[in-house]
């Protein structure tokens, strides 16, 4: 097993954190992991992305040239990464924000209305967890349980109460990716 993923969006959407959760969860499952952010004179509202590798083997280059999976949180990220995804790869798109449609026919695209779902759950900031849930459902890189445990380790002790809504968001994201309609899930 060797998964190379890119997670990209606006700063503030939880893009870097989402990548850290995947890496940490991979570590908890005794996998080799690497996480590397793009960094620069970046600010809130600017673009941010990170590359995550989870593998059964020692990781050579931590740089991801041709991601197998891209989690796309906004339109500039779609433009940047659409052509990079390897043929046969997966693109999970936050369709609440990204209006543009993917033109490539050789990759699997999943439109997930992550922003809308998060809003209905009562906290727009869990949109990244909806995306993460979909990613985990589609790839099985790590279990959702490990991902939630990883989140619990990353956030401070005071914030443990937010785990429940994040877990719910991930579960709904997984169900949407599996083909259930959003409306049936949120009732």
């Amino acid at each position: 097993m060797h998964f190379e993923s890119v997670i990209a969006g606006f700063g503030g959407q939880g893009v870097l954190l989402t990548g850290q959760i995947i890496a940490y969860a991979g570590l908890m499952e005794d996998k080799h992991v690497s996480w590397i952010p793009s960094y620069g004179p970046e600010m809130r509202g600017g673009t941010a992305n990170c590359s995550v590798i989870v593998s059964d083997n020692k990781i050579g280059s931590p740089m991801v040239e041709e991601p197998g999976v891209a989690l796309i949180f906004n339109e500039p990220s779609m433009e940047k990464f659409e052509q990079q995804v390897r043929p046969g790869g997966i693109m999970v798109v936050n369709s609440s924000i990204v209006e543009k449609k993917v033109s490539r026919k050789d990759i699997h695209v999943y439109d997930i209305p992550a922003g809308k779902i998060a809003k209905q759950l009562g906290n727009e900031r869990v949109a990244n967890m909806v995306m993460l849930g979909a990613y985990l459902e589609l790839t099985g890189v790590v279990s959702t349980e490990s991902a939630i445990n990883a989140l619990g380790k990353i956030i401070s002790k005071k914030k443990q109460s937010i785990l429940e809504i994040n877990k719910k968001a991930a579960e709904i994201g997984a169900s949407v990716a599996a083909g259930y309609s959003v409306d049936s899930l949120l009732g």
């Binding site: 850290q20 890496a23 940490y24 570590l27 080799h32 992991v33 690497s34 996480w35 590397i36 952010p37 960094y39 620069g40 004179p41 990781i59 050579g60 280059s61 931590p62 740089m63 040239e65």
Partner: protein
């Protein structure tokens, strides 16, 4: 137990684990997470974190702390390391142990903030004025950032000299699993009887770098050179990867070596017998590790994030016995594994003679 940590923070934690209780620095991207981490952690272990007014001030504070025998560290990125050079020369002359971390970024000048390896010459040739060299360690993973930082303190104390940990922006920013192996720390270092700790009950210790008598200064230089010979004999380290039957050897260090290892794997999958020698110490340079591959290797490809600096040391090691090619990216551009693979294909080896080109 392994934890997931960012490279820059790992350097800080490793320093504390190695008994470092003094850190003097000045912020600069892409290493600022390191002073930020130590600003929080040093007070927790009774240590001192001090953000100096400049890099020049910070390195001279290192001089002071090292003079008392304390384990001390400073860190910066390329332009800041240039500012510290005067102090590094003085620390070397006074034979004071300390650890200096350079998380390299693109230059020259203020350059940029993206990863680079363009301070290789500066790091391995001394950097400041005078006849001297520092031990330079080149980690290529977050785990090695921990291991080499801890090792750096032991080497500095053992040889009474500055030791540099040479990383780059990519390594400083990336997160990987890491384990801190305190059991690897040396437990039998000699007592620092030379330190200026207050002289009641003993002879005064003097720490000085001024020798107005040329005979004495030459003696001092001879002493330093003898020390460097000893280090060259004992401390050079390299990792070899698939070199046993390799016809093409890649030489690369740090982040570039990680990327090159992926290119080696791809080349092998295509039937090209590629391998890699990765210097873990840049000074002393592990020439013998490269020379040992020459019995079967047809050509060498040096890959760096600069315009070709370690290339000189590789050529000196090879002594003209094989062609040495070079591929590098500059300005903060990180070479891609696919680019390195293309270079490997151009150089060829036995199964790719049609691609051979002149050096």
């Amino acid at each position: 137990m392994k934890v997931l940590m960012k490279g820059n923070e790992v350097i800080g934690e490793a320093a504390i684990k190695a008994g470092c209780r003094y850190f003097f620095g000045y912020p600069i991207t892409p290493q600022s997470e390191l002073p930020e981490f130590l600003a929080k952690k040093m007070p927790e272990v009774g240590g001192v974190f001090l953000q100096a007014e400049s890099e020049v001030a910070a390195i001279n504070m290192v001089y002071g702390a090292a003079g008392t025998g304390a384990r001390v560290m400073t860190s910066s990125s390329s332009p800041g390391i240039s500012l510290k050079q005067e102090g590094i020369s003085y620390l070397t002359a006074a034979e004071l142990p300390c650890v200096i971390v350079n998380v390299m970024r693109g230059g020259p000048g203020l350059g940029g903030i993206q990863p680079s390896q363009s301070d290789y010459f500066q790091a391995t040739r001394g950097g400041g004025h005078g006849d001297y060299q520092n031990i330079v360690l080149a980690p290529s993973s977050v785990q090695e950032l921990a291991d080499f930082t801890m090792k750096a303190f032991d080497l500095a104390d053992y040889y009474h000299m500055p030791v540099m940990v040479l990383g780059d922006g990519a390594m400083g920013q990336m997160m990987e699993a890491v384990e801190f192996k305190e059991e690897n720390l040396c437990s039998s270092l000699p007592e620092k009887t030379w330190a200026t700790t207050g002289c009641s009950g003993r002879e005064r210790n003097i720490i000085n770098t001024l020798y107005l008598n040329p005979d004495l200064l030459e003696e001092h230089n001879k002493h330093l050179q003898q020390k460097y010979e000893q280090i060259k004999n004992n401390e050079s380290r390299a990792e070899t990867y698939l070199t046993q039957d390799a016809e093409i050897i890649i030489t690369a260090f740090g982040t570039t070596a990680r990327i090159a290892s992926s290119a080696v794997d791809s080349a092998r999958a295509m039937g090209i017998k590629a391998g890699m020698v990765r210097p873990m110490t840049l000074w002393p340079f592990p020439s013998s590790a490269i020379r040992e591959t020459l019995t079967h290797c047809r050509s060498i490809l040096d890959v760096e994030m600069n315009a070709g600096q370690m290339l000189d040391d590789v050529r000196l090691a090879v002594e003209g016995k094989a062609p040495v090619y070079f591929y590098g990216r500059t300005g903060g551009i990180v070479p891609k594994a696919s680019e390195i693979l293309e270079e490997i294909k151009k150089i060829g080896g036995i199964s790719y003679e049609s691609h051979l080109r002149q050096a």
